[in-house]
């Protein structure tokens, strides 16, 4: 349940969860599979991501 501590006063709880990455602005669903209907395989790092706030 406990992952790395983000800050000395905070203790991290909870499991892996869908999150929008602060550095890339990419949103990721953990363990999301490649869409079955895709003929051309999508690189894993793209297949599990969406981006709500893309860079211009």
């Amino acid at each position: 349940m406990t992952a790395e501590t983000p800050h000395p006063i905070l203790r991290l709880v909870g499991g892996p969860a869908a999150i929008c990455d602060a550095e890339t602005g990419i949103c990721e669903i953990p363990n999301a599979g490649v869409p079955a209907s895709t003929e051309t395989p999508i690189p894993r790092e793209q297949a599990t991501q969406i981006q709500p706030q893309p860079n211009p």
Binding site: A3, P6, H7, I9, L10, R11, L12, V13, G14, G15, P16, A17, A18, I19, C20, D21, A22, E23, G25, C27, I29, A32, P35, S37, T38, I42, Q46, A47, T48, Q49, I50, Q51, P52, Q53, P54, N55, P56
Partner: protein, 228 residues
């Protein structure tokens, strides 16, 4: 939105701070899961959620554009079809929570929206304002980059339309937004949503209702014991 999380007495609310960005789909889902976790408690009225500003893309254009257009420019190797499949995954996740998820959303700079949210917070309706804006955005019934839409929600919550327009068209509350972002950086936030429970526990990402409930159950007694 940026009130410091100061020591409390037992009669004061237990504060859950949530760093969030308006267009972040998992912030939207996490917000509603957290609300459900709180509402399931018999002492739900003891809890208060405060949304803290976060910008996933500070460089986003001020002029909003359709999400697939912005995405294609940022990721030339990904087709629109592939992007829509990814959106479909998020839509399915929202549907599992009973939430609408419009695929016809805009992408743009959210700093100004956060400024208005801080103004609303100062007037005592920060959480209601932010939550309403985000819910309607994902429902597809509101454009958060449109001043009139922001003012409409604010006035629904009892705020003065002229004052809200002044905030929208100025740079007021920029320092408050920046302070929230700075605090997130200090906390080492790597992504949103990022929830802090009573200044002790933190949860990254959109946790399940059960996950949020467990965090509340863990953090609340500690706060209560400390203030007795």
């Amino acid at each position: 939105m940026s009130q410091p999380n100061t020591p409390t007495t037992p009669t004061e609310p237990f504060i859950v701070e949530v760093w969030s960005d308006v267009g972040c789909p998992f912030c939207y889902m996490g917000k509603n899961r957290l609300a459900k976790a709180i509402s399931q408690r018999p002492d739900a009225d003891r809890f208060e959620v405060r949304f803290r500003s976060f910008e996933l893309n500070p460089a986003a254009a001020t002029q909003p554009e359709p999400m697939p257009v912005a995405f294609a420019r940022a990721h030339p190797g990904v087709t629109t079809e592939q992007f829509m499949q990814m959106e479909g995954q998020a839509k399915q996740m929202a549907a599992a929570d009973g939430l609408p998820y419009s695929l016809d959303r805009l992408s743009g700079n959210t700093f100004g929206i956060h400024r208005v949210a801080h103004y609303a917070a100062e007037k005592g309706v920060g959480a209601e304002f932010y939550s309403t804006i985000q819910d309607r955005f994902f429902e597809g019934t509101l454009n958060p980059f449109d001043a009139d839409d922001l003012i409409s929600v604010a006035t629904e919550l009892g705020l003065d339309s002229d004052e809200v327009r002044d905030v929208v068209t100025s740079e007021r509350y920029s320092d408050e937004v920046t302070a929230d972002i700075d605090q997130a950086r200090e906390y080492g936030v790597r992504g949103v949503p990022f929830a802090v429970f009573g200044n002790q526990l933190a949860a990254q990402g959109a946790q399940s209702v059960e996950g949020y409930a467990a965090a509340l159950a863990q953090a609340f007694p500690v706060r209560e014991a400390a203030t007795r």
